[in-house]
């Protein structure tokens, strides 16, 4: 019986050690981080996302974008993230304070998106890219997200926001392709992805 008690005590202590070390200790170190005011701009970082971008994050999560796109920039000297123009600095814990859930990602089947909103600021490009990645970005293996768009009868004149498509993708005559709200929200989210504010801990 004594051996069994020792056995259970052993596996309990072993697991408790891992729990304290890798679950609890990071809370002590990171749990009290708060947004800070950036002296240069007077803005808080990380900023609160506008409502449309928050809804867009839900679209991003629901469609599993994070399986192919990471949202983290590695420090200089470790990989080629800054040379690829994926961010002006490494990302740090404070950048993720407002993310729920945190979508760091573990694969770069596609490029990193931590600063997607800095690299490509054109919403029309993003919408076209979602509708037909291969058109906006030749050679891309990203799947088209056409179900985020609808093809409908065009009224007199083109509606605002209708996609500007080349002949081979154009809808039937008299119709136009309009992004659904989910597509607009997703693009708002992408445009808000910025982890560039000069934080002291990221220098």
């Amino acid at each position: 019986m004594k051996g069994r008690r020792l056995f259970f005590a052993g596996i309990l202590i072993a697991f408790a050690g891992s729990w304290f070390g890798l679950v609890y200790a990071p809370q002590i170190q990171l749990g009290r981080l708060e947004a800070v005011e950036i002296a240069e701009t007077g803005e808080f970082h990380p900023p609160a996302l506008p409502g449309s971008a928050r809804r867009g994050r839900e679209v991003y999560r629901a469609h599993g974008c994070f399986y192919c796109h990471s949202q983290q920039v590695r420090p200089p000297g470790f990989g080629a993230d800054s040379a690829r123009n994926w961010g002006p600095r490494r990302t740090v814990a404070r950048d993720y304070l407002r993310d729920q859930p945190v979508l760091l990602g573990t694969m770069r089947t596609g490029p990193d998106l931590a600063n997607a909103g800095l690299r490509q600021t054109n919403a029309a490009w993003h919408l076209l890219h979602l509708y037909s990645p291969a058109l906006a970005s030749p050679g891309s293996i990203m799947p088209p997200f056409r179900f985020l768009f609808e093809t409908r009868k065009a009224g007199a004149g083109r509606s605002a926001g209708a996609l500007d498509l080349p002949a081979e993708l154009a809808p039937p005559a008299g119709c136009e392709v309009i992004p659904k709200p989910a597509a607009r929200d997703l693009v708002d989210y992408l445009l808000n992805l910025k982890a560039a504010a000069p934080l002291p801990e990221a220098r």
Partner: protein
């Protein structure tokens, strides 16, 4: 310990009171144990294999979409980002977990010489687990993923899974607590530790990520603490527990060294729980966390080496058995993969290597190395050993078992042989900023195509297994009156067990 007979072990041909030679164990009590296990464990195995088939279809679709992105893109539920988690959950929680649970319950009650306590409770648990799986998979395809890798099921599903686990655990509890013999077998150490660790792991991760989520980057540490420990402290000990039972059992030899077994278990318990942070290398978390996980990976090699040597030395001189013993083939393949996957995992954690391999398809290759080439192969071998005892039927066709083995082995070697170099090439290209990113993407496509081909070979092997299990069940249903243990069947000429 009687010497092993020179006859081949025909366990897959006919069930019988194989353990007549075990101390303190009569065929009658074994029959009672098998009878108690029959319904819940056959349900776990059967449903597990159905989920394996579902997961396979989803895997082929996801793999194909990576090189043919225009395939089936008209519906949100068919998009890659939904198919992929549906695949991982079908194979991890649908197949691997249920197989693990079935094998654990059977081994625990057999080694504890105690039938399952109210097997109906365990059957209920298994049914609820599958209910949770169906709800969760539908939710994933409907876009309700939590966005947290390895825990994508929405939070109303995890209490169902947790309660199911508890129900299955309750049925095995008396067997855990009792053991007429004085000493525990090596298998029991691993299985007891695993069933104890899993609920702690699963509940911690669910509470801190889904119910009362921690803020910011700390989520990622909990996430990878869970992802890594699910492998290291649940699937690995269950796989090793099965290996330490079935390998000695099937060749009729004791485990080679008690001391090595103690070292192997002790170092897994000590260091196994400290991995995972290497998945965040270069990420926005304190660097010391990553260093701790890398160090733990190095220390963990003690466990990998001790277990690999111990299992190899147990098999030494008996490798010719692989010609006849088909279940043992899966076991030995799994054991060898355990050693290799452990070594690869340690190497991939090193910063100089992860700088290249992190964020590439090598991550996917490694997940299949551990969960499939090691764990699932051991589970296949275990199911081939256990199912005939529960159905009272032999496997209808040894050739199908052999076909399953060879297609699985070839498919896996192709899969890993393609995706490991593919991931390294992708990582090297990604770290060369002169190569445009779309060129890096283009470079991965040949590897991804070959990976799909490997997927088709593996799909064929799963189909063979599925058909064979269905055939066996059907022949049992036709032949209901046969007693569970047919006294006229061959007595299996092996004795001994995994007793140290």
């Amino acid at each position: 310990m009687k010497p092993a007979s020179t006859q081949p072990c025909p366990e897959w041909q006919a069930p019988s009171p194989a353990d007549a030679g075990d101390p303190g164990c009569s065929p009658a009590s074994l029959a009672a144990i098998d009878a108690s296990c029959r319904k819940p464990i056959l349900l776990l195995f059967g449903a597990g294999v159905v989920w394996l088939m579902i997961g396979t279809v989803l895997a082929l679709l996801a793999s194909w979409k990576l090189h043919e992105p225009a395939l089936l893109t008209d519906h949100a539920w068919l998009t890659f980002g939904r198919i992929r988690p549906a695949h991982t959950h079908a194979v991890v929680y649908g197949f691997a977990f249920q197989a693990a649970m079935g094998v654990t319950l059977w081994l625990v009650s057999r080694l504890g010489r105690t039938p399952l306590w109210h097997p109906g409770i365990a059957t209920c648990g298994a049914l609820f687990w599958n209910l949770g799986m169906v709800i969760g998979t539908a939710a994933l395809l409907g876009g309700e993923s939590t966005g947290i890798e390895w825990l994508e099921f929405p939070r109303y599903v995890s209490p169902i899974l947790f309660a199911s686990y508890a129900l299955m655990g309750i049925a095995g509890m008396p067997a855990l607590g009792s053991r007429p013999q004085r000493r525990w077998f090596v298998s029991q150490w691993y299985l007891l530790a695993a069933v104890f660790w899993f609920p702690w792991l699963y509940s911690t991760a669910n509470i801190l990520l889904l119910f009362e989520p921690v803020r910011g980057a700390a989520q990622a540490t909990v996430n990878w603490w869970y992802g890594s420990n699910l492998l290291a402290l649940w699937f690995t000990p269950v796989g090793l527990g099965a290996l330490y039972y079935f390998v000695p059992k099937r060749i009729g030899q004791p485990v080679h060294s008690h001391a090595l077994a103690v070292i192997g278990f002790g170092s897994l318990a000590l260091w196994g729980g400290w991995g995972g942070m290497q998945h965040l290398v270069g990420g926005p978390i304190p660097a010391w966390l990553v260093t701790v996980s890398i160090a733990a990976g190095l220390m963990l090699m003690t466990s990998v080496a001790a277990n690999a040597v111990n299992l190899h030395q147990t098999m030494a001189g008996h490798f010719h058995r692989l010609r006849q013993d088909l279940a043992l083939r899966f076991m030995v393949f799994g054991g060898m993969s355990f050693a290799l996957a452990g070594l690869c995992g340690m190497l991939m954690a090193l910063r100089s290597i992860s700088e290249i391999t992190h964020f590439t398809h090598l991550t996917i290759a490694h997940a299949h190395h551990g969960l499939y080439a090691f764990f699932s192969m051991v589970m296949f071998g275990s199911i081939y050993s256990i199912a005939p005892r529960l159905t009272g039927c032999p496997w209808p066709s040894p050739r199908l078992i052999s076909l399953h083995f060879w297609t699985a082995a070839v498919g896996l070697l192709l899969y890993l042989g393609v995706l490991i170099p593919g991931g390294i090439a992708q990582g090297l290209a990604m770290n060369s900023p002169d190569i445009p990113f779309l060129e890096v993407v283009r470079g991965t496509i040949p590897y991804l195509r070959l990976r799909t081909a490997a997927g088709f070979v593996l799909a064929a092997s799963h189909t063979v297994f599925f058909v064979h299990l269905a055939w066996m069940t059907a022949s049992r249903v036709r032949d209901r009156d046969r007693p569970l243990h047919d006294a006229t069947a061959h007595a299996i000429p092996i004795s001994g067990g995994s007793a140290p």
